[in-house]
Subunit: 386 residues, 2 copies
């Protein structure tokens, strides 16, 4: 198996991008990543696109061919990968395997979603849950995560304020990220008093409806310095599933797929959770950020809320979580998120993250989740090859 490195990254601004179509977004991101890798379009040998639900949002499937055409990359193999909000993470994983296997040497992984072309995104998002056993019974995503929040508060004494603090920190970081959808700061009070979505979660606990795209170029680690002076190495790429249906799980306060994928990733990379300097975790709802930092082993189960409150995931702490602003503030164009997380880590490890730069990180970890944890993808990156 060949080692794999990242030599180019990019992200469009995330937000309500009325002047950009689906195809514009991913072409913009792809071209910029190719430029960042000091390549030409014709260098790219294959591409993987993470996209959750082009079919329901814009009536478009067969997205690989579409993107290859509009990027001028036809006739390269172009494959769309889907796992709800983890689509981006899985697209990157396929790109890694395509290089690791020796099939290709220069592969793009991109993610894209155009969510604002429909009046109500909720029914399309519900397709990430179990349609027969959850969505058709009237359950929505906020309500699923609200149940998890209530249970976490009940089991561990986590406070409403601690959950809200995850979103507050996201906005704090997002205020320093020029590509974030929201660049305003918020307070715990503001979160608690915002419009209720599903008790206890308010609108400010929820990531927004977003348009956007992001892209990454991967090559064999042995060839990385041909393209860039600062390659970032992919030290682990793992994935696990859990039941799609939340009610089939043993626990509402922990996501088993995160635990399994992250433990495998630590093994692959030969590190422990305490070695991670910077992490991008999947806070589609604030409670999911809190659960993530526990399941990843950064903090003991039940202690995540206290850790947030104590500033232990801030940019200047031992483990900086979501310096980009996370899904809450950077925005959450579903299929793009898993790619954008790794783009942010690459910028952080290269020292190119501007005002939100974390102090000299070496190990970065991304956690990208589909649904309520039906899929989890974990990537560990480092500046050092081994």
């Amino acid at each position: 198996m060949r080692d794999v490195a990242i030599v180019g990254v990019s992200q469009t601004k995330f937000g309500e991008l009325w002047d950009k179509s689906f195809r514009d977004l991913v072409v913009d991101a792809g071209m910029e990543a190719i430029h960042d890798a000091n390549m030409q379009g014709e260098d790219i040998e294959a591409m993987y696109i993470g996209n959750m639900t082009g079919g329901l949002f814009i009536g478009q499937e067969h997205i690989g061919s579409l993107i290859a055409e509009h990027s001028g990359l036809t006739p390269i193999p172009a494959t769309r990968v889907e796992a709800a909000c983890a689509s981006g993470g899985l697209a990157l994983r396929q790109a890694v395997m395509a290089v690791a296997s020796g099939y290709y040497d220069k592969v793009m992984a991109a993610g894209v979603e155009k969510m604002t072309d429909v009046e109500d995104a909720t029914p399309a998002i519900a397709a990430a849950a179990d349609q027969e056993w959850e969505a058709q019974q009237g359950v929505t995503f906020p309500s699923l995560y609200a149940m998890m929040a209530n249970r976490h508060m009940y089991e561990y004494g986590t406070t409403r304020e601690q959950i809200a603090a995850f979103a507050v920190q996201g906005h704090e970081n997002g205020s320093l990220n020029p590509k974030a959808q929201f660049q305003n700061k918020i307070s715990v009070d503001k979160v608690l008093n915002a419009t209720k979505v599903a008790s206890p979660l308010t609108i400010l606990d929820c990531s927004p409806v977003s348009d956007g795209a992001a892209a990454i170029i991967v090559v064999p680690a042995d060839e990385a310095t041909k393209y860039t002076d600062n390659p970032i190495y992919i030290r682990a790429s793992t994935q696990a599933s859990d039941t799609l249906n939340l009610s089939s799980r043993k626990s509402l306060t922990s996501i088993e797929s995160t635990k399994i994928a992250s433990r495998k990733a630590y093994d692959m990379a030969g590190i422990t959770p305490s070695d991670v300097d910077v992490a991008e975790v999947h806070d589609c709802f604030s409670i999911n950020g809190l659960i993530a930092i526990e399941d990843l082993g950064f903090f003991e189960k039940g202690k995540g809320g206290q850790a947030i409150e104590d500033g232990l995931i801030a940019r200047d702490s031992d483990i900086a979580v979501n310096p980009s602003g996370g899904l809450k503030a950077r925005g959450h164009p579903l299929g793009a998120t898993g790619i954008a997380q790794v783009v942010e880590l690459t910028w952080q490890l290269r020292g190119e993250a501007g005002k939100r730069q974390v102090d000299n990180p070496n190990y970065g970890l991304s956690l990208n989740i589909g649904g309520t944890g039906g899929t989890a993808a974990v990537h560990i990156l480092s500046r050092d090859r081994s």
Copy 2:
């Protein structure tokens, strides 16, 4: 790169399966393939699912997690791959890379589609074309292929009867396949006088709306005989794209992605088109079967019609095409088709194809196409490892 072999295959009956849900179908196929590979469910380490448009047909995305759960395979990585009607071929290709790379040793590739839960499948199928440039202008898939048929007749003198003869042969073979959706024979006259869909194509030139699933288990070639006495080796797995939009192409009578993917496949396998003994090609419409046998190099461009008429693709000819009945007679549950093609080739190479068995084939080739050729996936299999 590790060589890869097929050790287990299965296909459900294809058809209007009112008593089977989406999840039933793929679980049935998966369990049978695992049994065929002499494995247990817990042996499977990862799975790839080809599915075109669960979102539009049944409101369900995040299909990997769903299928893993209902197959009892949670928490293995489960990834859905989509490229319209080539989704199955690409799912197999990812499974091949997952094994070739060394990431996994026992991987399932499955394909599934449940098309009969909606009243009209046409709008969902149209999502395989360019929504903005084709579908929104009123173009449907039969009309796109009808243009290709008209142009082929104009350029090469191909007759209407020759095109119809591809469908007639499909039904001839399908009549011997107990898993085919249609097991009745038809005649050229019957095709010509059937309900017109898009001139010159009639309903009997068109593959049907189908439910169904199929599955394949792949392992490293070095380990194949641990599971089965008759492993089938994957000698090539290739893929190419063309413009999604038909009007951007240089030619309407040839599919460039087929040519590129098949030439690469012949190189990978170290064979020429004349070495292929049995092929499963993508006859979503009869004209596409005709174009395929030309683009694959079985016959000269423009001579495909004559070859069909002369019986040169019959089961007892040098190259038996679509002994299963093809998409026309076996049925075409979109995401399942690319997997079902390779399942049929495996049965043929093993000598297990019953009444439709081709005489002692060694090399088999599958061509799975998305849209009007925006994606093409080619696999070459053989009984011999090299």
